[in-house]
């Protein structure tokens, strides 16, 4: 009981700056809207109606919401890329690319302890992640490429219905992929990958919060995480 009653001191660390939090929730919201409207567009519900077509425009409205949200998603992503060069250590692009030896060590550690659920014999302070661990940040890198796939295929399919120059930048995509049908299929498949990502992402947030109790889930609202005092004293940003 003696060791157990030794409780730890925690410090509050601002990990996620306000732009990161705004990006996160705007991104989450637009992904949800895009998935829901996307599935409605892919397979609209059967409606028996005696209304004249001229009295109704709901499917057109659903498509309009999808397209408007796509612009929000795109602009938000561009803003986040900007912040990857301007933001703090945890928002920087370097936090997402495992190119250092340290990051690979962290990946091995997280795989062992959090994915395969083995226990460490001795607690190593350095292993406590303050921002993302490198497995998580790598999954966001994958999500970033998935977002690129959605933006390119989506705006590529949208281009012929638009006269604006921005969608026209993507007009080459369907030709490159062999037509609208394969482009649409890729767009549809990567929607499912977004759903799978969301499942895993939300689960792992809950897992970390449940196991560690450091404010993992609320950090994306408040911006703060709680980190052991000793960990901060020796901090070299990981």
């Amino acid at each position: 009981m003696q060791t157990i009653s030794q409780t730890h001191d925690f410090k509050r660390v601002l990990v996620w700056e306000l732009p990161v939090r705004i990006f996160h929730w705007l991104n989450a919201l637009s992904i949800i809207v895009l998935i829901i409207t996307g599935f409605i567009i892919a397979n609209p519900p059967a409606i028996l109606s005696s209304a004249e077509a001229s009295d109704s425009y709901w499917f057109g409205t659903v498509r309009a919401i999808h397209f408007i949200t796509a612009y929000v998603f795109l602009v938000n992503a561009i803003a986040r890329i900007y912040w990857a060069f301007r933001g703090n250590y945890y928002a920087n692009w370097r936090a997402f690319v495992p190119y250092t030896k340290k990051s690979w060590k962290n990946i091995m550690h997280v795989m062992k302890v959090d994915i395969f659920l083995r226990n460490e014999e001795k607690e190593v302070l350095k292993n406590i992640s303050v921002g993302h661990n490198y497995v998580a940040s790598f999954s966001y890198l994958i999500l970033f490429f998935l977002a690129l796939v959605q933006i390119f295929t989506g705006f590529g399919l949208y281009a012929p219905t638009s006269g604006w120059w921005l969608p026209q930048l993507f007009a080459w995509v369907p030709d490159f992929l062999g037509g609208d049908v394969p482009t649409r299929l890729i767009h549809h498949i990567s929607t499912w990958l977004f759903i799978i990502f969301t499942l895993i992402h939300v689960y792992l947030v809950f897992y970390h919060d449940w196991l560690e109790g450091r404010g993992e889930s609320s950090s994306m609202i408040s911006g703060y995480k709680f980190v052991r005092k000793e960990r901060i004293e020796k901090d070299d940003h990981i």
């Binding site: 409780t7 609209p44 077509a53 001229s54 499917f59 012929p160 649409r184 299929l185 498949i189 759903i195």
Partner: protein, 378 residues
């Protein structure tokens, strides 16, 4: 160009000779100008060009195909399309319509190729089989590939006419046993106009030739080499059932009440939203109808590899490698289910494996809570 007797004549002269009067001719000029997408003030220029320009020599080659492309243009709206622009012109050489046969036909073709070297337009209907050294399609003892290379050599421009010539169509569908190959993959050094469709619209072909005659150059082409005037819009964008799409009114089966009402065929696999063609505005058979108007969804016949792009009567394309009739949604649902099961297992195992850690943290938290209670009581 010259007819077989060697006398050069213009399109107008040819039409008059054939028994059309000037009124017919002007009607044709107005009609083809509209099809080219120009405003009516251009009619004069088109008519003048047709009056003053000698007819273009055209060689029409048939390789691996079903002749539906030729059938399409001989049934076109205005008789002059078939009579003057395409049919007679191609009398020099077109297997289906020419009078000559055998050695005479080959001789006629070689005459034209020699006489109008660098001037004639080569129309190719059909794909070129490259499998087994090209034996799947031989004409006059030579393979289609040899014919194509020979004919393309002196051509001013090439028109790949129909889906076979532009993307291989049904012969080129998996597993493509004959090695059917579209024209642009064999001929690289000539301007090639792609006119996909199974078949393409005859008037579009006539308008392409008239455009060439009027302006002495090819019309504006898109990235895939298709004339923008005819392939710039999706069938969906010019479909008369589009209001039903926007209103969310869809036929669920081909025999339900909604289908009878003429609702949108989107859910029955209509490929209109992914197909670039002018069917919705030009229509077929003297403007009588087009597939969607007849109650059948578009099958996307002018899109590359439309045979391989999944079932005609479903919206979602089959996923290759996941078994027959498995769509992206089925695979997606299974994958989400598997991930959910995996995560639930992870959660259970985590609570067992990390039991000690959780318990220690819990105890420490409890100790703090008890201490807090004491301080408050004091």
């Amino acid at each position: 160009m010259a007819t077989n007797n060697g006398v050069k004549e213009t399109y107008y002269e040819s039409a008059i000779k054939k028994g059309y009067d000037r009124r017919d001719f002007m009607k044709f000029a107005a009609f083809i100008t509209a099809y080219m997408g120009f405003e009516h003030t251009m009619v004069g220029q088109v008519a003048k060009s047709l009056e003053t320009t000698y007819r273009l020599p055209i060689i029409w080659e048939h390789y691996q195909e079903c002749t539906c492309c030729s059938e399409s243009f001989i049934r076109s709206d205005h008789p002059m399309v078939a009579d003057i622009i395409l049919d007679n012109v191609s009398l020099d050489y077109t297997e289906t319509l020419m009078a000559a046969s055998g050695h005479q036909a080959e001789a006629a073709k070689h005459d034209t190729m020699k006489k109008y070297h660098g001037e004639y337009i080569l129309c190719v209907e059909g794909s070129v089989p490259l499998g087994a050294d090209g034996v799947y399609c031989t004409i006059a003892g030579k393979t289609a590939k040899d014919h194509l290379i020979e004919a393309a050599e002196g051509a001013k421009a090439i028109i790949a006419w129909g889906s076979c010539a532009t993307n291989g169509c049904v012969q080129g569908a998996k597993p493509n046993p004959t090695g059917a190959t579209p024209i642009h993959k064999i001929i690289k050094n000539k301007p090639i106009v792609q006119m996909p469709g199974c078949p393409p619209i005859g008037e579009a072909m006539a308008a392409l030739i008239v455009h060439y005659v009027t302006f002495d150059r090819l019309p504006e082409l898109d990235r895939s080499g298709r004339p923008k005037a005819f392939y710039g819009k999706r069938v969906h964008d010019t479909c008369y059932r589009r209001p039903y799409f926007d209103a969310g009114l869809f036929a669920e089966t081909f025999d339900d009440e909604n289908a009878k009402e003429g609702y949108c065929l989107y859910k029955l696999g209509c490929k209109g939203p992914t197909t670039y063609n002018a069917c919705g505005s030009m229509k077929w058979n003297n403007g009588v109808s087009f597939p969607i108007q007849s109650g059948h969804g578009c099958i996307g016949c002018s899109e590359a590899n439309f045979w391989d792009n999944g079932p005609f009567y479903k919206r979602l394309t089959n996923l290759p490698g996941f078994g027959i009739e498995s769509t992206a949604d089925t695979v997606g649902k299974v994958a989400v289910g598997a991930v959910a099961v995996g995560l639930a297992t992870h959660a259970v195992v985590a609570n067992i494996s990390k039991h000690k850690e959780l318990k220690n943290r819990y105890t420490r938290g409890r100790v703090n809570e008890e201490n807090l209670d004491k301080t408050e009581e004091n």
